[in-house]
Amino acid sequence: MDIELNDAELVLQIGSGNARDAEAELFRRMAPRVRLYGLRHLRDEQAAQDLAQQVLITTLEALRAGRLREPGKLASFVLGTCRMTVLDLRRNAQRKERLLEQFGADLPAPVQWSLPHLDHEQLTRCVQSLKERERSVVVMSFYDEQTSADVARLLGVSDANVRVIRHRAIHQLRECMGVAA
């Protein structure tokens, strides 16, 4: 598509029918966002990819049928669909298979998921260069995924202090890795 449509225009084009370019653009625009949501909530790349397929199928169905009353609120609609789908996924894994069987062939090929590459040796040096408390907080948070309260108890500091230490450490790591804070 040569001219980038805003969300509302995209919704209206899809609703008017025969809009494969607009549907492809919807997929291109929303799939990475849904996958990020899925990765955060499902903690699994394949599950996040599956979620993106299901959510976009549901969204396309709704847009083709003109069920989105406020076209400008596409992002909210997709987010809401994500929330409902994750709840649904947890309730009923079978629905996923049925939807994919029915609509999967209509979807464009999935975009390969990728996270930015980080220099492992450099990151090791950056983590080792943190202050002791910062290193412990970052490792316990990211490796162990402990809550701030758990980390606070283990390190003898307050919950709020854990968050402050973690924030400082993340900024320092990003700076050390040459990423804008």
């Binding site: 909210s76 980080l118 080792q128 202050k131 002791e132 412990s136 490796y143 390190l155 003898g156 990423v179």
Partner: protein, 197 residues
């Protein structure tokens, strides 16, 4: 399109860690569904988190850890070699190729210690490196110190002394405990001692 209200990377890390309050999380998610620039930043944060997780699993960091951290490592099937010398005492120690983590459990009376430093000394007791203001849980009776397993595997047969020190109100250093590690090398390698820090 440039984001007018970019979400700070540290807040995105909180989001990734499920550490935001409900309303704050909702606001972040709605923003992420409308902003690819912040989505890209979140991917950077996730890559950082995954990188740190990978490094933590390698056992090559020198740091103070918790028992729950060790428990999680053990659950993952990683092999932990642990020594627990008494304060003022020593222990015979080694590492093998199969070890993934090397832990020293340093017993000490930490009551009232506001700041604790961990000092790494050579066999003569000369300080070679210091970890200032290490985290110490309130009421703890020991410090769980992780030595770099890659450093330990390269270490020749030698003696290493670790000290825990605190400071009185006048700022003078006070010894909490000294621990001697008599390391016997059990792996082939060069005969020189790698630098401590």
């Amino acid at each position: 399109m440039s984001c007018e209200n970019p979400i700070d990377a540290a807040v995105l890390a909180d989001y990734w860690l499920t550490a935001l309050a409900g309303s704050e999380e909702e606001a972040v998610e709605l923003h992420l569904f409308d902003c690819d620039q912040c989505g890209a930043r979140l991917r950077e944060v996730i890559a950082l988190a995954e990188g740190v997780r990978k490094i933590a699993r390698e056992g090559s960091l020198r740091m103070v850890v918790s028992d729950s951290f060790l428990k999680r490592l053990a659950e993952e099937g990683l092999r932990i070699r642990e020594y627990a010398p008494p304060a003022g005492g020593g222990v015979q120690c080694t590492v093998t190729a199969e070890d993934d983590f090397l832990i020293a459990r340093l017993a000490a009376n930490l009551t009232g210690a506001k700041r604790v430093d961990l000092c790494l000394c050579d066999e003569r007791g000369v300080e070679q490196g210091r970890m200032p203001d290490i985290p110490v849980p309130s009421g703890a009776s020991n410090v769980v110190y992780q030595e770099s397993i890659s450093w330990a595997k390269a270490m020749p047969t030698s003696k290493m002394i670790v000290r825990l020190v605190t400071f009185d109100e006048a700022g003078s250093e006070r010894l909490l405990g000294e621990y001697t590690f008599n390391h016997t090398r059990s792996m082939p390698g060069p005969g020189t001692l790698p630098p401590v820090i």
